[in-house]
């Protein structure tokens, strides 16, 4: 059963546990919410009175801003997973307090309860989806998120239904529903704890990164972005209007219900039933009708269903203000809002560029929603308490607002189609984000038009979007594109055809086995392999079909990563391939090198070693990468040597990364080894940075003390990137602070030297020397920020570094203010003197006071630079001294002639020269 369910959800290995836990977590969350919501509504309506409900809307809206601020502050320090558990626990432990307050309630308690439950719903659900978004990538999300959505609807149904039973059948008091909510919230928190993956959570980045000058920024700053897109502006208007109408409808429903059920328990039971039933209907509608409605009516048409139904409901309530009419009105709202309306509204965001969408969607979801409810509250207060408008006549206002809603939709439809066309032209829509069959109507027509157009890139892009079109006859167009001169178009056309007509695609795939482009042939092999039950036999046939099909089959095998399939071939069958010559020989050797990646047989490893020494660099690189995957410790020194070879360097580095922890010691020793070239040492540091492991961070920091110049910069860059990817720093912070002191002292000495060079170093050689010192000063600052990034939010500090080093004074000011806020006093007093806008004398004095640096004359500056461990800086100094012949030049040059670094010796020896 579970296996079948997994197959239905298309779960992949390793996804089952996490999906189950998140399903359970969301189910429990919504169950808790639907215990709390009917209880809240009943207690408020009976305790405070329905006429004051609009005031509760206003209070809820006012409370949203400080709660969002507090939440954002916590989000800067905690990972999403930790924040989820902490939020649930904090909310859970507030429930007994609310319960006790309700035993002898003052009027304000009802307002507090109303606003608190509203925040509970928003915080927990938005946080849950944030967490799910962190734990799953885009392709996983597409498969798994619908199932999680079902969990929410089931939770809402069970919560509502259990509320009814608890009150009617089991004799629970309305306040006691809060305790049921407490139990389910705690259960949800427990499941959230279990969902933390073993070996450290994958999302140990703070939930909202603090960035001084860019990135997410504050909600208000993101609000300004809404003006950039007319479509977004219209979406905001639509959201605001729909929230306003929904709040008015909600008020009418609750006021009529409160009048019909004067007892709190009976009212809670009734509301629980309505919420439970509407959740179930919403699920059924979503499963059965939502897709069809979208297909029949298009996005704008589907969006018109809710206001149309509400108009009928509001008119009904106007004619007969009964519980049944109010329930039908509010029920229609609840059922449609969470199914058709939500799906269609999400599709409105498709043509919005991803970054703009990321930065504005949450603002729209939270701010506009709260503001809309607040505005509705004020409007209703004015109408009911100010003008004493009877409840039924409020339906007139509802109908007027609904007509405005429908008018807005006509403008939105035009804008949506236009924006979709533009996004298509700019290739801004991510095919992975679309749901299968979700592109309909005018948007689908735009995709078809792109297929018929003359722009090759747009054709290829439209082919990728094709599976998301619903029931459109595109086969003739796709078939015509199989002969397209661009390989990428041919390949995508084959994939698209397979979706439309699998047997036709199989015939085309066989023709494509002799295509000139390897990727087209690999796609053809993929189609053929997919259609055949006997894979080993298929592969044999492909091997026998000639070099072009065989090479494609080898690449396909390497991507499939199934060593058992390769095991069906005797090693001798590959010998001929190694000896081959002709058009496909190099391609064949390269394909074999990739295919042998997962082979464990000794004779296959021997082939790989032979291929790694191939005269053709592309073949050697492929073999080196495959060797890395084997993690053979005997090959490690050989791979380290390959870091010296320019054409093979990159492949060797990637292979060394594949060794993971096993290769860390050897890499650290290579970084520290002065006998290796600087390039090889730098590449070793980069390889260490590729191993996402705390031990790799340790190894980088161990290599730091002896490293200078570009090597030091690279070590620290890799270290801070590791931190930014979530790797934790082990050991005490003083190790980092010592390195920071070391860096700052060197920076002050360089700064003082640079001042003196400005007066004395002339000509080309002097200009170069000054430039190198400037670069080192800049590197020094970047190093300091990287070190701080090991202790604090690395991304925020990298942004701050960019702000300090940039030309924008405002951004620089933000960065300094950020550092003042973020850093502890001992760190602040180390970094701020380096970046303060002070005159040179003050900086000189600061260095002297803190680190005792005191370079007072040109000779001392040259002596300091000559003693540097930075090879490139010494080389430029020696060149300058050789050309300009300042005092003490002879001694410095004679020492340089014996320098261990070849680049310095060369600079000392070369005759003649430039000025």
């Amino acid at each position: 059963m579970i296996r079948r369910l997994g197959a239905w959800l298309d779960l992949r290995p390793g996804e089952g546990r996490l999906t189950t836990l998140l399903f359970l977590q969301y189910f429990l969350l919504l169950t808790a919410y639907y215990f709390l919501k009917p209880a809240r509504d009943a207690l408020f309506l009976i305790g405070a009175g329905a006429e004051l409900l609009p005031a509760a809307f206003v209070v809820s809206a006012l409370l949203a801003a400080p709660v969002a601020g507090l939440y954002a502050r916590a989000g800067r320090r905690l990972s999403v997973q930790t924040l989820t558990v902490v939020t649930l626990l904090v909310l859970a432990f507030q429930l007994p307090v609310l319960y006790l307050l309700l035993r002898e309630p003052a009027a304000w308690v009802f307002y507090l309860l109303y606003a608190w439950v509203g925040m509970f719903g928003i915080l927990t659900t938005s946080q849950f989806w944030l967490l799910a978004g962190e734990l799953f990538d885009a392709s996983q999300a597409r498969r798994i998120f619908p199932a999680l959505g079902v969990a929410g609807i089931l939770g809402a149904f069970f919560g509502g239904e259990l509320t009814r039973r608890a009150v009617v059948d089991w004799g629970f008091g309305t306040e006691e529903l809060l305790l049921a909510g407490l139990a389910t919230t705690l259960a949800s928190a427990t499941v959230a704890l279990l969902a933390r993956s073993p070996g450290g959570p994958p999302t140990n980045e703070p939930a909202h990164r603090a960035r001084p000058s860019s990135g997410d920024g504050g909600g208000w700053r993101n609000l300004k972005l809404l003006g950039r897109s007319r479509l977004l502006t219209l979406i905001v208007a639509l959201t605001g209007l729909s929230v306003l109408v929904t709040a008015v409808v909600d008020y009418q429903f609750k006021a009529v219900s409160a009048a019909a059920y004067p007892d709190a328990r009976a009212l809670a039971s009734f509301l629980g039933s309505v919420y439970g039933l509407t959740s179930l209907l919403s699920l059924l509608l979503q499963l059965v009708l939502a897709g069809r409605l979208l297909r029949w009516l298009g996005v704008a048409g589907a969006l018109a269903v809710l206001p149309a139904v509400l108009t009928l409901g509001a008119a009904g309530l106007l004619v007969a203000p009964t519980v049944l009419a109010a329930t039908l009105l509010r029920g229609g709202d609840l059922v449609l809002k969470h199914s058709v309306q939500r799906t269609a509204r999400e599709m409105l965001f498709l043509p919005v560029p991803a970054e703009l969408k990321r930065r504005t969607k949450v603002v729209i979801d939270i701010f506009v929603d709260r503001l809309g409810r607040g505005a509705a509250g004020l409007l209703l207060l004015g109408l009911t308490l100010g003008l004493h408008v009877p409840l039924r006549w409020i339906s007139v206002l509802t109908v007027v607002l609904l007509l405005g809603w429908l008018l807005l939709l006509t403008a939105l439809r035009r804008e949506y189609v236009d924006a979709f066309r533009q996004a298509l032209a700019r290739r801004q829509i991510e095919p992975g984000e679309l749901r299968r069959g979700s592109v309909t109507g005018s948007a689908a027509a735009a995709v078809i038009a792109a297929l018929d157009g003359g722009n090759d890139r747009q054709i290829a892009y439209a082919l990728e979007l094709l599976p998301n079109l619903r029931e459109t006859d595109t086969e003739p167009r796709v078939r015509a594109l199989l002969d397209h001169p661009i390989a990428g178009v041919r390949r995508r056309a084959l994939v698209a055809l397979n979706d439309i007509d699998a047997s036709g695609a199989l015939v085309a795939a066989r023709d494509f086995l002799s295509d000139e482009n390897l990727e087209v042939r690999v796609t053809a092999v993929d189609r053929i392999a997919e259609a055949d039950d006997d894979l080993p036999a298929t592969l044999r046939r492909l091997f026998a079909a000639g070099p072009s099909a065989r090479n494609a089959a080898l690449i396909w095998l390497s991507r499939r990563g199934d060593p058992a399939l390769l095991g069906g071939f005797a090693a001798s069958e590959f010998t001929g391939l190694l000896e081959e010559s002709g058009a496909h020989a190099v391609e064949g050797r390269r394909a074999l090198a990739y295919a042998l990646r997962d082979a464990s047989r000794p004779e296959c490893r021997a082939f790989l070693e032979r291929l790694a020494n191939d005269s053709e660099a592309t073949v050697a690189r492929a073999a080196i990468r495959s060797l890395g995957a084997g993690r053979d410790m005997r090959r490690l020194p050989w791979l380290l040597e390959k870091l010296e070879s320019r054409p093979l360097r990159r492949a060797a580095r990637e292979a060394l990364v594949d060794y993971g922890r096993d290769g860390l010691l050897a890499l650290r020793d290579a970084v520290c080894d002065p006998g290796r070239s600087l390039v090889a040492r730098t590449q070793s540091a980069r390889a260490l940075g590729g191993v996402r492991d705390p031990e790799a961070l340790d190894a980088l920091l161990e290599a730091l003390p002896g490293a200078r110049g570009g090597l030091r910069r690279e070590i620290l860059r890799q270290a801070v990137l590791l931190r930014a990817s979530g790797v934790k720093l082990r050991g005490d912070r003083w190790r980092v602070i010592d390195a920071l002191d070391d860096e700052a002292a060197r920076w002050f000495s360089l700064y003082q030297s640079r001042r003196l060079l400005r007066r004395h170093a002339e000509g080309d050689s002097g200009a170069l020397l000054r430039r190198v010192v400037d670069e080192r000063l800049r590197d020094g600052l970047e190093n300091c920020f990287s070190l701080l990034g090991l202790l604090h939010d690395p991304r925020g500090l990298l942004d701050a570094c960019a702000g300090v080093l940039g030309d924008d004074r405002r951004r620089r000011g933000h960065a300094v203010a950020y550092l003042e806020q973020l850093l502890e006093p001992d760190l602040r007093e180390r970094i701020l003197p380096l970046i303060d806008d002070r005159d040179a004398d003050a900086v000189w004095a600061a260095g002297h006071a803190r680190y005792g640096t005191a370079i007072r004359n040109h000779g001392a500056a040259l002596a300091y630079l000559a003693a540097s461990h930075d090879d490139w800086l010494r080389a430029c100094l020696v060149h300058h001294v050789r050309v300009e012949r300042p005092e003490g030049a002879a001694e410095l040059l004679s020492r340089a002639a014996l320098d261990p670094a070849p680049v310095v010796r060369e600079a000392a020896h070369v005759a003649g020269g430039f000025r």
Binding site: R646, R649, V679, G709, S765, W872, V903, E906, F914
Partner: protein, 141 residues
Amino acid sequence: MRSIVEKVILLQRVDVFADVPTEPLSVLAASADEVNVLEGDAVYREGERADALYLVLDGRIRLHQGDRSFGEIGPGEAFGTWALFDEEPRLGDATALESSALLRIDREEFIDLMADHVQIAQGVIRAVSRRLRALAERSAG
């Protein structure tokens, strides 16, 4: 033979390398070859595959298409720069007006270095942006 430091002094004058930090530039300099051509020799001809950028160390080079001259290049100046970005055939000839010494930067070497040194890529992107902006301004003006 120029030292690596001397080659870097020359390379930083070429606009595409002006924003590249000097240390990665020294790696490029280490792989650059010095080429000597005699008066009247062709450095490259129209239609040949563009595979290198040249920097004049000494001498003068004429860029031309048949008799139509595009200009003369002297010491410290570079030519054939677009070869670094595409492999399209050369649009014209480059001929030595006198015996000249050139620094040759191979395209493949340059691409490999760019992949390893992000600073080279950043500097080059800045320079190409400047060129494109200048082109746009020229065509607009």
